[in-house]
Symmetry: C2
Subunit: 568 residues, 2 copies
């Protein structure tokens, strides 16, 4: 029995598997830093202190040791990689556990998608905890690939890797007591339930919190975060690739409240994962801006473990999993050695652990489009149209009204005024839904961009100058079975196949990053000046973020929360 | 549905049950104190903030409000009262929840005793959480009324009022991997498991902690507590009637580690409960000695709730139970109003809540002694005997050797040298076991004291001067069905019947205290100078506390952990 071995080694009766000598332990439990040995056996820490023998010894010569980092909220899909390659991205940065909300893949494949993520995370060097997606689909003004109600999610409660309910984005549904939403809350009441309620305040916020939701990661100001923390929420400070809340929220953190604050990345693409890192980047940045190192490390370790009730994680003490990081400089924390369950899995920023053998999984075809029956023309019924106003790399948009460019009775793109046609084609059930609109801000002079990453329903989204390019782009996406494409007329400039649900690839991370950079270059060669036109495009169909968005159902005025006519 | 109502009130659509206006909220979550209204509906807090209407309003005019106190570890039996009267003792002091270890009654009645405590706690003004007793019996050198193995305890895991496994006192059993002990640890691994390992240190402490045990309440020095805290234990600082660890341990508390420290009382008798209080006394004392008030209150509220995973307790925020205390002076915290689940249950130190109707429970007879077959004589087989050395009100004893006083071939009491006969009669199964020894330090000049409170097996213990008094004392205990008696020859000076398992009475607390004080006076009239001879006597049979103790099995040398001869 494991515990019998553990006790025997802790007593000193038998040599341990591993002894890390002369560590400066960052003890997140006591809040101290002091020298000690750490003794590991059977994947767990069994003792702190001197006088133990071990089969393997590593002299840390006074370097620091702290628990492995935990990301409190991340959509792995945003890395465009499945868990094994995502792990290769974050483990060298010291992240040994993540709590992921697989709501991207769940919007495509439902429970099958969640099971895929659980399966792909198995036996890897990263502990992947899954929160059950609470909002699939996000609203009724879109067609998603799946629909998950409380009864569908219930079996996940039995899975030891499932921690709770993922970000409850449908905050009006909570506040106003939508029945299906309350069913989910009641079902998961005994587990942590994550919030998502940007800018919610006052009485509505009280209602939202009184439902039992326990965290919030959408705060952008100290005032907002403090109101939410005072009401009993645990605040996840987020630093994604584009959503950068860490520096604005640093003044929130005090010695008195920091145990109620965690760090998360939410959405990080390969480039920022590789160049900056993950939770390590947040801890480093916080310390560089004056946060006490032990407090900063707690927000990336113990606090998150405690919030998610992962009592064997996030702390270096006897009986806990031996997930640990060794580093040299407290003021500039760079993980030199990363141990997960007692195994050295990364060193000097490089992965050491072998990638586990991937069990072949027969992936259903996720792009179901009957192209022959689709009509991309927009008959002009008036002289003015609503136009989505893309704003740099932001996910919010403007709600514009512009004169239509009409040729032969049809409204068309007008590159002179940067008004381009945007199309959203339902791609899960081939139900024939097609949304058509115009968008400003992409700057394409030729061709078209298309992709199957379109939050959160992930239908097929296209922005293009002409009919030939638009049709060719859709064809190319279908040919690669989902992914990103850039075309110029009949000429396909480049593709990034994302065969897993149209969202992810199983190729090596470095290659994905390189190909993705290539795709941005193609888009820019077609005239776009956006830093990342594909990422911006992927949020233009997200009808829960203001102001004007296009889904397969039609143009959505988010403030009015209804589908509106293209023409005014 | 409750949650629907709660949401509607939090939104402000309907008036709440209760609004507490103009409170200075001690927000243990954020670590701040600031003015706000607290809005209560359906027994829960639904909102913090202004602008709410309510059916009942109380203007707190700037008085402080904090969560109800939680006692992290208490044996209710030590109050000599069952839960309803115990509640009357502690609720006016602001204690709205306790985690109790019913191991006294469990040693008499096993699961039936635990069920009795659960039943008696129902519908009362105090939330009584129960930890499953882990060590019934304490050792094999005693006869207890019941034996609880892992399989016996397992059904408790399903009870929502059961929080975890109670103090694992058999620390050698843990450290050395005793099979029955490990069975219990494995069974309760997913719950909080409380420790009890006085003075354990170094490798053995590492082994004990690595088993998954999470707390410790036996620390007496800062050095001991810091070693244990650094290893990941949550430290319960204890302030019982006699075990006074608060002042010595105050220097342990720092802003960095205080969230890992809780307050508990362990054992408090009616007098200290009534005169000093409970957790309120600890918080008051800590603040008076310089501990930050928010930190002190956290140790008596939020920290304990979090440790025991009681997520709806210990914090004032929307969705949580409305257990709250109002007080005027932060430097001298005296609960003026105590709310439990939104009801005012105590005011100005007086109970307001009606005592719930007690369901009649047919109590089995707990004193089974066949007096006719008992022989109290001690044939002298040598000229010297071992003598238990009682030391004031301490629970430890000396291990003495004295000349025997021999009359007619039998060793007898010798009041000149304060060497008295001590008898322990097995009283659960009438198995005829009788332990006989001598004890120094009680000072009786006449008569005998007897009682059925004798930790932890609670056999019948008697200390007396002569055979007549000893026999009469036992008869009297049998007549009252268990309890405490003082006799002088054939004359019964006084009795305190404890009909519930020989440990508790259902009489009013004030009466119990008065009668108990009377019993001490009787004992002192017989010559004893001890402050509380009955309490001291109750620990003279506890064979897990050094050095020499007497059980029904015989004289136990605790250091040798074996039964030894009376004569040397």
């Amino acid at each position: 029995m494991t515990i019998v071995d553990r006790l025997a080694v802790a007593r000193g009766d038998f040599p341990a598997d591993l002894a890390l000598r002369n560590a400066m332990l960052v003890n997140v439990w006591s809040g101290e830093i002091y020298p000690t040995d750490i003794i590991i056996h059977n994947e767990r820490i069994v003792a702190l202190g001197s006088g133990y023998q071990a089969k393997q010894e590593i002299d840390l010569t006074g370097r620091y040791l702290c628990p492995g980092f935990i990301d409190a909220h991340v959509h792995i899909e945003s890395s465009l990689c499945t868990p094994p390659e995502f792990a290769r991205a974050v483990v060298p940065h010291g992240v040994t556990s993540v709590v992921t909300d697989p709501h991207e893949i769940a919007n495509v494949w439902g429970m099958q998608g969640i099971q895929f993520m659980l399966e792909r995370a198995k036996d890897g060097p990263l502990s992947v905890f899954v929160n059950a997606p609470s909002c699939v689909p996000a609203t009724s003004m879109e067609t998603s690939g799946a629909r998950l109600e409380a009864d569908d999610l219930a079996p996940l409660l039995e899975n030891p890797w499932v921690t709770g309910l993922a970000e409850v984005m449908n905050y009006p549904g909570v506040v106003f007591g939508d029945e299906g939403m309350l069913d989910k809350l009641e079902r998961f009441q005994s587990k942590p339930m994550d919030g998502h309620c940007p800018a919610l305040t006052g009485k509505q916020l009280n209602a939202y919190v009184s439902s039992g939701i326990g965290s919030e990661h959408e705060c952008t100001t100290v005032e907002e975060a403090l109101e939410k923390l005072r009401l009993g929420l645990t605040i996840f400070i987020r630093e994604g690739t584009t959503t950068r809340n860490l520096l604005p929220l640093l003044p929130l953190i005090t010695p008195q409240n920091h145990t109620r604050i965690c760090f998360c990345t939410d959405d990080r693409q390969p480039n920022s994962l590789m160049d900056e890192g993950s939770i390590d980047f947040m801890i480093r940045t916080a310390i560089a801006h004056g946060v006490d190192p032990v407090m900063a490390i707690r927000m990336g370790t113990l606090n998150t473990a405690q919030y998610f009730r992962l009592y064997d994680y996030g702390v270096i003490s006897p009986g806990k999993w031996a997930d640990m990081i060794v580093f040299s400089d407290l003021q500039n924390l760079q993980p030199k050695m990363v141990f997960r369950r007692g195994q050295l899995v990364a060193q000097d920023g490089k992965m050491i652990a072998q990638k586990p053998t991937l069990r072949p999984i027969q992936l259903p075809k996720s792009v179901n489009v009957d192209l022959a029956h689709l009509d991309f023309r927009i008959p002009a019924t008036s002289t003015q149209t609503r136009v989505i106003g893309a704003i740099g790399d932001q996910v919010v948009t403007g709600n514009l009204i512009k004169d239509a460019s009409v040729i032969n009775g049809h409204a068309v793109s007008d590159t002179n005024r940067d008004i381009l046609k945007m199309i959203v084609v339902e791609r899960h059930h081939a139900n024939g839904n097609i949304g058509k609109a115009f968008i400003n801000g992409f700057g394409l002079k030729h061709g078209a961009l298309a992709g199957t990453v379109a939050h959160d329903h992930h239908n097929l989204v296209i922005i293009g100058v002409d009919e030939v390019s638009i049709r060719r782009a859709i064809e190319a996406v279908i040919e690669i079975g989902g992914g990103l494409v850039a075309v110029n007329g009949e000429n396909v400039l480049g593709t990034l196949p994302l065969p897993v649900a149209g969202l992810m690839t199983e190729l090596p991370l470095e290659q994905v990053r390189q190909e993705y950079d290539g795709m941005i270059a193609h888009a820019q060669s077609l005239g776009s000046a956006l830093p990342d036109p594909f990422m911006t495009m992927s949020f233009m169909a997200l009808e829960v973020i203001p102001s004007l968005k296009l889904t397969d159902v039609g143009l959505v005025d988010v403030e009015q929360f209804k589908v509106v006519d293209l023409f005014v």
